[in-house]
């Protein structure tokens, strides 16, 4: 491996890291603005013009708060919890293909940090590991409400991972590859998977809502029953990490939804462009899809009320998994028929 490639990838990692954090920061701002819009209010408008410095003010406030660790807690695990949450939210961005190849100084630069041949499974793996952040944090707090929140979070995430995995397998069967880049390139132009797999998309989207702990599935931090849920005992930037991880994972899951069902960086009429124009336009197309889905996440949060826990389990196990499995079977049959195996 030559050093040029390492430097190129390091720069790419730096850019993606900054962009993820920036988008997560401004997602908190837009969440408040969208909420205000839905409730016919103005929203934050004091810090800077239209309140665009509000995320900075929030960040400074988080840093300035007293960093408190409960005396009967498991100190190391208490610190580890938010760290794992943040780490698992950020690491998935490593394998997302952000656009067509750029050409800089005569050499082609892939806008993707690592093109694993198991890309989509890597995301499922990171997702399943992401539970530990919440579980460890909730348990180490030594507070019954935190523990309830942690247990709710883990049972919810395990339940919805199954339906999510089955719907991902459906897409993998259609593409014939686990690599995210192959999945995106298979949907060239307007040939998006959503037109072939609308049911699969709905299942995946509902699961994505549950996996990111967003309303209407935000039972792990259900204020009316659990005070604050798994982060009741947290303060200062540790709390900030938990809250921030939610927004980062919202960004990443919007990106995954765009890749799996809405063609990733493909856009209609992309064959008329080439070279760097195409690369930049594809990145723009990808990010506009991501922003749209972040907005949909917020839209749902401020429209739907929270589920009850038994309803959540009922939906996950008795509705989504059978639907996903039947959809998988039908897809398999159609593929087999198309290839003439019968």
């Amino acid at each position: 491996m030559d050093s040029g490639l390492i430097i190129e990838k390091l720069i790419l990692v730096g850019i993606i890291f900054t962009i993820s954090l920036l988008i997560a920061m401004y997602a908190t701002y837009f969440e408040r603005k969208v909420a205000a819009w839905f409730q016919d209010r103005i929203g934050p408008d004091r810090a800077g013009p239209f309140g665009i410095l509000q995320p900075l003010a929030d960040g400074v406030k988080m840093f300035m708060k007293e960093d408190f660790i409960p005396s009967n807690s498991d100190k190391w695990l208490f610190i580890l919890g938010p760290g794992i949450s943040m780490f698992t939210s950020l690491i998935t961005s490593a394998i997302i293909p952000w656009g067509e190849d750029l050409t800089i100084f005569g050499s082609s630069v892939a806008l993707q940090v690592a093109d694993f041949n198991i890309g989509i499974l890597f995301i499922m793996g990171v997702l399943s590991v992401g539970i530990y952040g919440i579980m460890i944090g909730g348990w180490a707090s030594n507070n019954k409400y935190s523990l309830f929140g942690a247990i709710r979070a883990s049972s919810q995430m395990i339940s919805y991972e199954l339906a999510m995995g089955v719907s991902v397998i459906t897409i993998v069967m259609m593409t014939g590859s686990l690599s995210l880049r192959d999945i995106v390139q298979d949907q060239h132009g307007m040939n998006w998977n959503i037109f072939y797999q609308p049911v699969c998309f709905i299942v995946f989207f509902v699961c994505a809502l549950a996996e990111t702990n967003r309303a209407p599935f935000d039972l792990p931090e259900c204020e009316s029953e659990l005070i604050g849920g798994y982060h009741t005992e947290y303060s200062s930037m540790k709390l900030g990490f938990f809250l921030f991880a939610e927004y980062v994972s919202m960004f990443i899951s919007s990106a995954i939804i765009a890749i799996l069902f809405f063609g990733g960086y493909n856009f209609p009429g992309m064959d008329y462009f080439s070279g760097n124009t195409l690369a930049i336009l594809s990145v723009v197309a990808f990010f506009s899809k991501i922003f749209f889905f972040i907005f949909v996440f917020m839209w749902i949060r401020w429209t739907l009320p929270r589920f009850r826990f038994d309803q959540l389990m009922h939906l996950g196990w008795k509705n989504l998994i059978p639907i996903a499995l039947i959809n998988l079977l039908i897809t398999g049959l159609v593929i087999a028929l198309n290839k003439g195996w019968f």
Binding site: D74, L77, F116, N117, I118, L121, F122, M124, G125, L127, S128, V129, I131, Y132, M135, I136, W139, L147, A150, I151, S154, S155, I158, E161, L178, D310
Partner: protein, 170 residues
């Protein structure tokens, strides 16, 4: 040289964290060390060019089974006071049983050691998805299907246990 160094380092770390599973006093910490061990085992798989096995190991063991372990331990809230006092006889039986298991494992893995050394760093692509799928559906199709039958049996058993008492949830 670097590859061998990494292999040795990883092996040492794996054994170290596996030892910590046994040596930790607190059950929750033991489980967390076990999770770390699974991650290190996955790293070993990647070193042998078996990415698919590595990631499936993480999804299934670290992501699902260990979460359930942790789940149960957190609900039970075990600590030193509630730990049952074991008699010397049981401890002795444990030592003997563990020793026998170790001997059997060592005997079984003695031949495996040679193969592993060949696999590390070589262009062995058996672990990649396509090759693994082909092997599973041709050479190893019978064991593969048999294990799925076993899984169904286990699942039916779990459903039977859960359904033994009539429960009305709705």
């Amino acid at each position: 040289m670097t590859l061998e160094m990494i292999a040795i380092l990883l092996g040492g770390l794996t054994i170290g964290s596996a030892l910590m599973v046994v040596l930790s006093k607190h059950p929750v910490r033991s489980v967390l060390y076990l999770v770390v061990t699974f991650f290190l085992i996955s790293a070993n798989y990647i070193l042998m060019n078996a990415q698919f096995l590595a990631i499936v190991n993480i999804i299934v063991y670290a992501g699902a089974i260990m979460v359930l372990f942790l789940f149960v331990l957190m609900l039970l809230n075990l600590n030193k006071d509630s730990e049952p006092i074991t008699s010397i006889g049981i401890k002795l039986a444990g030592i003997i049983a563990g020793g026998v298991l170790l001997t059997v494992m060592l005997a079984a893995l003695k031949d495996g050691l040679v193969i592993t050394q060949q696999a590390v760093g070589s262009a062995n692509n058996d672990g990649l998805v396509e090759n693994l799928g082909e092997l599973l559906f041709t050479k190893y199709v019978l064991p593969f299907e048999m294990s799925s039958v076993l899984f169904i049996a286990a699942m039916v058993g779990a459903v039977m246990l859960a359904k033994r008492e009539k429960q009305i949830i709705d």
